[in-house]
Symmetry: C2
Subunit: 234 residues, 2 copies
DNA sequence: ACAAAAGTGTTTCTAATACACCCATGG
DNA sequence: CCATGGGTGTATTAGAAACACTTTTGT
């Protein structure tokens, strides 16, 4: 394949561009990270984020989504660029610039069989082992990013199932910010934003009484944004 | 030069990595952008951000600082990665991923002669012409970024001279957020943060009475950060 | 003496925080 | 009937926003 007729920049240096993905999940009150064993030389076999080289005729995000689907079976996942990591000799294999992404997935929905087959594992975020290159830094940076971002964008909902309870949502925020939140104030604030729809169903799995399920209403949220209102939780 | 002994990834695709810099300045109450005429084919001669290809043995930020110095004479400038722009066929010259940066410079300090010699110009931010590739998008994104960032980091001071007055600072925030701010509330808030040092000097250039000059105290700011306090202006 | 920008205080209102009890249910 | 997590209301406090006049000084 020859996507470009002519190379206008032939006197400049070419290098590899890769993308690595910090994949977050949320389960049983804990933030989790999906990592796997590196499949290419050098450093083959060490723990690593999921990543890939970017092909000449492929967008960076496309590449990231490709590997994410390959390993989890998931498509249409929330994913956003974090930043690039590409100091000169970071990668002993050759000059490679990695564009890190972070993704938020609903941990109940991924393809377990696929994940296992690729040697991938979910790790508690507090508990991540040493990763290849500066992937630990990427994780750290990604966590800071979602902490900041979750204050003004409703990204938390990307980690929960479609239907969730208020206590679940609270546990998520508690895990992200690593601190306890007063449940009365939390509920008050979340509901006052008016972006949740209460359903007639209850989740009976965590208490005898059951907790009402809610859905995030994207349309209401967009209206809220338009009106200049400031979305802010926790 | 041959910075790498061996290329482990030879079966993958190599491409160009560039960096473009959204350079902001602040003058006479207006946010300004430094742009210049593109010096390489294709699209030579069209308005463009200042940028460069990244060399094999050069960090991305290094490359950005190199061109910034080349054109403005400035070093030690505030610069931060914005995000990457690298869709497949965005650059007709060849597949190129650009890592956009934004820089904040003190507009009084750059080397005017150098800037002119490179055909660079300061444009009012409201008034930027059509730029090459998706550089207009980069400018837009950078502006959004500094708007968000200025709420919790003291980046505004990077755009002002070492010594500045409160009214000047206010005008800067007014330009960034494009709205008027009540001067009493602004002054109260800024001073309550306790990161400014009042000097014994006055700036007499804008009024008969003169306005006291202040300096931003980075040490006080760091202490503020440590104490978990939330820096927030405007 | 006046024009023009710098500087100063108080009141009002809104939103964050702190805090304790009742509810519903399955076992 | 009781243990467990779900759900509700109020008082206090802190900070944001609104608002108008006095000061200084070169001309």
């Amino acid at each position: 394949m020859k996507p470009f007729q002519k190379d206008f920049y032939i006197q400049e240096d070419k290098m590899y561009v890769a993308t690595d993905c910090v994949i977050f999940g949320f389960d049983e009150g804990n933030l989790k990270l999906l990592i796997f064993k590196r499949r290419v030389k050098p450093l083959m076999g060490t723990w690593s984020l999921i990543g890939s080289f970017v092909k000449l005729d492929e967008d960076v995000k496309e590449a990231a989504k490709r590997v994410l689907k390959e390993i989890t079976g998931l498509e249409n996942v929330f994913m956003e660029e974090l930043k690039t990591y590409g100091t000169t000799f970071r990668d002993p294999g050759y000059r490679t610039i990695s564009i890190a992404q972070y993704a938020l997935i609903r941990i109940g929905e991924y393809d377990k069989e696929l994940v296992e087959r690729h040697g991938a594992h979910w790790y508690d975020i507090e508990d991540v082992p040493d990763l290849v290159l500066e992937h630990n830094q990427m994780v750290k940076d990604a966590l800071l990013r979602i902490r900041r971002k979750a204050r003004y964008k409703p990204i938390g909902f990307e980690l929960l199932p479609e239907k969730f309870t208020i206590p679940q949502l609270q546990k998520l925020y508690e895990a992200v910010y690593h601190k306890e939140i007063d449940s009365r104030n939390f509920r008050k604030k979340v509901l006052s934003l008016n972006v949740l729809v209460k359903l007639d169903e209850k989740d009976m799995s965590t208490s005898r009484r059951g907790a009402f399920l809610y859905k995030f209403d994207r349309k209401k949220y967009l209206k809220l944004q338009e009106s200049g209102f400031n979305f802010e939780i926790a």
